[in-house]
């Protein structure tokens, strides 16, 4: 029962969040400028054309009225039509989703094993040179601004060596009715650098987490018992330590997945990767309000849902975690 009320509370809060965010975003875009100037050809349009366009988009109405219309449409699942692309805004976001999703997935597939591996090794040999190197470089890795990291990857991986393409999505193949880059060799080649840019900070993060977890577990009685029993260090590490530290790691993977959606804004812009993040930045520049609102809503919902999912995951698996706290 308690679980249900907590879940309802979370839902209400998430709802409030979305409402607040939509209001701020709506007013924000409105205060920035008039999207009409992106819709008419300013070089040939007459003042009358501009007036007609304003009326056609409903921009002549007072802002609170526009917001009301927007909200009532959203309730009916309609985010409006993109000013620029003349197609439903939410469908546009969804059509860009596979690109972002595969990017985040590949980044996580790189980050999780490498990070956990480094962390386990460093934690078991805590205090050694290797440990120090891992620890130090993790601070460095977390200090690199993601946009500069991306640029340096382009410089090193594409311009100087020519090993990877410097941007774009490459060839795609159709699967489940969507276009995916991972499925083609060329597409994967394009995917690698941006995925690495997203993965590097996460490698550092996961490594630090697994390292401290490993140190804690190594000092617990059962590991000592295992050691006393004569199990090989490898077996202890993989069969006993790893499962015991997996909880926080799974948590961080879940949370960082949401974070990647947000950080993808930067990485996608630099690699010209046509995903949700790039759509957000482009739409902000073009004041394409329906698309901005749909993208923001989508990212927030995903982020909140991932948070909730992670909490739920704990509640189900760990009786000691009290959701009410």
């Amino acid at each position: 029962m308690a679980l249900i009320s907590v879940a309802l509370g979370r839902l209400a809060q998430a709802f409030l969040l979305l409402l607040a965010m939509s209001l701020v975003g709506f007013l924000g875009i409105h205060s920035v400028g008039n999207p009409v100037f992106n819709i008419v050809n300013i070089e040939t349009a007459t003042p009358e054309d501009i007036r007609n366009a304003t009326i056609a988009l409903g921009l002549d109405q007072p802002i609170w009225h526009q917001y009301g219309v927007f909200i009532s449409n959203v309730v009916r699942g309609n985010f409006g039509t993109s000013y620029i692309y003349h197609m439903p805004a939410f469908a546009l976001v969804i059509s860009k989703l596979p690109a972002t999703l595969e990017l985040a997935c590949v980044a996580m597939l790189i980050a999780a094993p490498v990070g956990v591996g480094l962390g386990l090794l460093a934690g078991r040999q805590s205090g050694t040179v290797f440990d120090r190197i891992v620890l130090r470089s993790s601070v460095f890795a977390l200090s690199i601004p993601s946009f500069w990291l991306s640029m340096m990857l382009i410089l090193a991986g594409a311009i100087l060596t020519g090993w990877f393409p410097s941007g774009g999505r490459g060839a795609t193949a159709s699967f489940l009715g969507q276009e995916w880059s991972v499925l083609t060799r060329n597409g994967f080649w394009h995917l690698f650098l941006p995925a690495l840019a997203l993965a590097i900070p996460n490698i550092a993060l996961i490594a630090r987490l697994s390292r401290s977890g490993t140190i804690e577990v190594e000092n617990l009685d059962f590991t000592r018992f295992c050691r006393a029993k004569g199990l090989s260090p490898r077996r202890i590490l993989l069969r006993h330590t790893l499962p015991n530290i997996s909880m926080p790691i799974v948590t961080i993977i879940g949370l960082q997945f949401g974070g990647m959606l947000a950080f993808a804004v930067v990485v996608e812009s630099i690699f010209a990767w046509p995903g949700v993040g790039k759509l957000l930045i482009d739409s902000i520049q073009l004041l394409d309000r329906p698309v901005v609102m749909a993208t923001l809503t989508f990212i927030s919902v995903t982020f909140v849902a991932l948070n909730a999912f992670v909490d739920l995951f704990h509640a189900v698996l760990d009786p000691r975690v009290r959701l009410s706290s």
Binding site: E48, P165, G168, L183, L286
Partner: protein, 553 residues
């Protein structure tokens, strides 16, 4: 637990709850992961990249095709790509001269009546013949039916009183007043086929119910803002197109277009940034370029008494200095166009002294861009009463035109040398327009293009008159009656040398007053790969397969 740098702070707080917890490895998860991996590995070769046909032309374009309705928006973004499918009555060639398209000839039968003779034996993609009735339908659709928020092409047909088709190959157009350049309007209008009844809606066309035109390529498939696939029209009336298949990929990021060309993903990439040309050439790509039929300029507000951001050196607001032609002249004289053209545009621009590149019809041979002369400019400023110079905010859009943001800063460097302190202020294009319309700016960077010199003069420099439609881009409210009369006189002359000379004379007259500072005509730059033998540039900046000559083995 380790302390972590802050970006990840939220997460650490979450995980602090954990403590240690004994958990066994979850088998289902592992097998799921395994199977996912398997799928990826196996499918790697099952799904090869899009099969590259030997005879397919692949073009990376910056023009995002937004609609398949040829009458929806008058933007190069659409017309460039749609010109494969649809055709116009009149074609504007590389010298901007009018050539027969779907019409073989045209003439004015009276002051207010035009007659167009149509081409014989032209068929639409669905097999039906092209007749005068289709032209009537097209004009009616634009004038009466398409209600696009951006006005579409309505301004081109606004002068038309009635259209009739006395026989299947003749169209007669009555205009409400004299419209000597009516044929020019028809170089922008795509002819559609009349369906059984009523009008085709934009939605129907966007849904891809095969848009039917007479053009050299047939529509195959599209994805809004992403790609357009075309197939050769084997029944085309003119020269048979060279490429059996054409695929346009919309790539908006210049860097990504350049990358796609270097890796051989595409055969042609348009709107190449000038700074990337050298490295592209190094990697074996070929470059074609042409001075664009357009102008980027600085425009002054010459109407208001005081202007926002214009102060003397101590920060006190001063009377509008740009009302004085001497000040405008001095600033023009102090503008180093060489830096703009050679450094910022890396040589892919032409310094400007008038609205079109010298040599195009209607331009003046007397006007040539001058090197900066800071001494004389300073003297002019002193003569105008500003020996110490003044402060201005120079506004402009960012990322709209090649070299826009950088130009503002380069101009700030030039003008500082005559004591005019410039604070450059850039914003995204729509923000810039919003603020300019709100009167927030004193002078600004702008750009415009047009079919001909008189179109630009009419919009940019003629006195603003919402009724008559002149001065639509004259946001600085420059008024010069003598020039208005000269322009009106020139525009009443029929296309030809006489008209062009009159336009050049009007240009000479108005530029002496320096209502704008012409900066440069940037070049359209197209890069192409090994499978293309040559690419014929068009000053209007279109990117089409018809301009592309294949390498013949």
């Amino acid at each position: 637990m380790e302390s972590l740098p802050p970006q990840w702070g939220n997460c650490t707080q979450k995980t602090k709850k954990e403590g240690t917890f004994i958990m066994r490895s979850t088998k289902p998860f592992r097998s799921c992961l395994l199977s996912m991996l398997l799928i990826v590995v196996m499918s790697w070769n099952i799904f090869p990249g899009a099969a590259r046909a030997q005879d397919e032309l692949r073009i990376a374009t910056s023009y995002k095709l937004m609609t398949l309705d040829p009458h929806y928006a008058n933007l190069n973004e659409n017309t460039s790509l749609l010109s494969h499918i649809y055709e116009r009555l009149v074609y504007q060639d590389e010298k901007l001269d009018l050539k027969p398209g779907l019409a073989v000839s045209w003439r004015a039968t009276s002051e207010t009546q035009w007659q167009f003779k149509l081409r014989e034996n032209v068929r639409f993609h669905d097999g039906s013949p092209f007749t005068a009735d289709d032209v009537v339908y097209t004009i009616e659709r634009i004038r009466d039916f398409v209600k696009s928020p951006n006005g579409g092409f309505r301004s081109y047909v606004s002068g038309i009183k009635s259209v009739s088709a006395p026989d299947p190959l003749t169209v007669v157009i009555e205009t409400s007043g004299p419209v000597p350049n009516l044929p020019l309007s028809f170089s922008s209008i795509f002819v559609m086929h009349r369906p059984g009844q009523g009008f085709q809606t934009t939605q129907e066309l966007n849904a891809g119910h095969a848009p039917v035109g007479t053009g050299p390529y047939r529509f195959e498939s599209w994805s809004s803002g992403e790609m357009l696939k075309l197939k050769r029209n084997n029944d085309y009336w003119g020269d048979k197109p060279d490429w059996p298949e054409v695929t346009f990929r919309v790539i908006e990021s210049p860097a990504a277009r350049v990358a796609a060309l270097t890796t051989g993903d595409v055969d042609i990439a348009d709107a190449i940034p000038a700074r990337d040309v050298a490295s592209l050439k190094q990697r074996g790509a070929k470059i074609a370029s042409v001075g664009a039929a357009r102008i980027n300029f600085i425009q002054f507000d010459v109407e208001r008494e005081t202007l926002p951001g214009v102060t003397d050196k101590s920060g006190v607001e001063i009377a509008n200095p740009f009302k004085n032609p001497l000040v405008r002249r001095a600033l023009a004289m102090a503008t180093d166009r060489g830096v703009l053209v050679d450094k910022i545009l890396a040589g892919y621009g032409t310094a400007a002294a008038q609205v079109f590149p010298n040599g195009l019809p209607g331009t003046s041979a007397n006007l040539t861009p001058e090197a900066p002369n800071y001494e004389e400019a300073k003297a002019l400023l002193a003569e105008a009463g500003f020996p110490e110079g003044f402060h201005v905010v120079l506004a402009g859009p960012a990322g709209r035109y090649p070299g826009d943001g950088e130009s503002l800063q380069a101009i700030a460097q030039s003008w500082a040398r005559i004591g005019v302190a410039v604070q450059p202020a850039t914003s995204p294009f729509s923000v810039f327009n919003t603020r300019r319309a709100a009167g927030d700016y004193a002078l600004w960077y702008g750009g415009t293009s047009g079919e001909t010199v008189d179109v630009i003069l009419h919009a940019l420099l003629a006195s603003p008159d919402p009724e008559g439609g002149s001065g639509a881009l004259n946001f600085g409210h420059y008024r010069n009656q003598a020039f208005d009369q000269m322009l009106a006189k020139a525009q009443s002359i029929e296309e030809g040398l006489e008209r062009n000379n009159a336009l050049a004379e009007a240009t000479d007259f108005v530029m002496a007053d320096q209502p704008i500072i012409p900066l440069y005509h940037f070049h359209h730059i197209v890069g192409y790969g090994a499978r293309v033998a040559a690419y014929a540039m068009h000053p209007r900046g279109w990117t089409t397969a018809m301009q592309t000559l294949p390498v013949t083995e």
